[in-house]
Assembly symmetry: C2
């Protein structure tokens, strides 16, 4: 199972791709089974027009999807309560990710920042450094993934991998 | 000059297309020269998943662009200050419109709601009924365009048509 995580952003859009194995019983996925596949960042310059930036991000995610051929996509959910200047741009990039998941026929789910932090560190208010430390531990890496946007995207993919599969609730 | 106006929205995305002629001197465009080409609404059901809704709107705008072959696109600017629940979805649809403008190599500009209202009615706080009345007058229509989303999209296209062209500032 290849999981494609996206930390949406207009200036830096983090991409983190991991492979995860189902347990023999198929009811849960062990953190031991997680492996880094690829991670990076799609950047666009603030001097470009907005339509040009969105096109570059769309083409960039599309290329990543064609290269990685993931089974599922996981995107960080954006909230309008966040009163950052950049929130609408972030929402637009998340929208492109959802569009591309649909165009590539990849199931997609959204995870809240609190859910990601709690899954990765056990603490819903964890900072970026804690996230980066735990992502490296989960993926058995000797060095941390940088920049933080790539590490955050891996955290989203790991969250998706470790959440209980739907059939676990049916038992 | 064919102008493609978009009033972005996830449940109802208004589309309004007009034709406008440059004046003989080329420095301004007369309101008399405006003609309705086509208007309508792309709807998506709230019961659909978000990726499915974005895909339908993307495909819908794409079909309209292929059918109308506009020269320019005009999109209403979305503000994060609007504390509506739907603001992020509206921003995502505006993002798809910008992406499609770039993919179709159509110049695109954004217009604020206040700019549109002031251009169409002379009053930046005009209501939807005033907008619909004035859109019908500008386009010499005997009946108003409905629903309001289609009329609003025409108002955005008209605003784009009547704004001074760039070379007017150079005189």
């Amino acid at each position: 199972m290849r999981i494609f995580g996206i930390d949406p952003g207009m200036t830096r859009c983090g991409i983190g791709v991991i492979d995860a194995k189902d347990s023999a019983s198929g009811t849960f996925r062990s953190a031991d089974s997680l492996r880094l596949y690829k991670a990076g960042v799609i950047r666009t310059d603030t001097s470009l027009a907005q339509d040009e930036r969105l096109r570059k991000i769309y083409d960039g995610i599309d290329s990543w999807l064609n290269a990685c051929k993931p089974d599922v996509m996981a995107v960080e959910r954006v909230f309008s309560q966040e009163n950052r200047h950049s929130v609408l741009g972030t929402a637009q990039v998340a929208g492109l990710a959802l569009l591309l998941a649909n165009q590539h026929t990849i199931p997609v789910s959204l995870h809240t920042p609190t859910e990601v932090k709690a899954t990765i560190t056990g603490f819903g208010q964890a900072n970026k450094q804690q996230i980066a430390t735990m992502v490296a531990k989960f993926l058995k890496l000797e060095v941390q993934i940088k920049p933080a946007d790539a590490s955050d995207a891996l955290a989203i993919a790991i969250t998706n991998a470790l959440k209980p599969p739907i059939n676990a609730y049916k038992m």
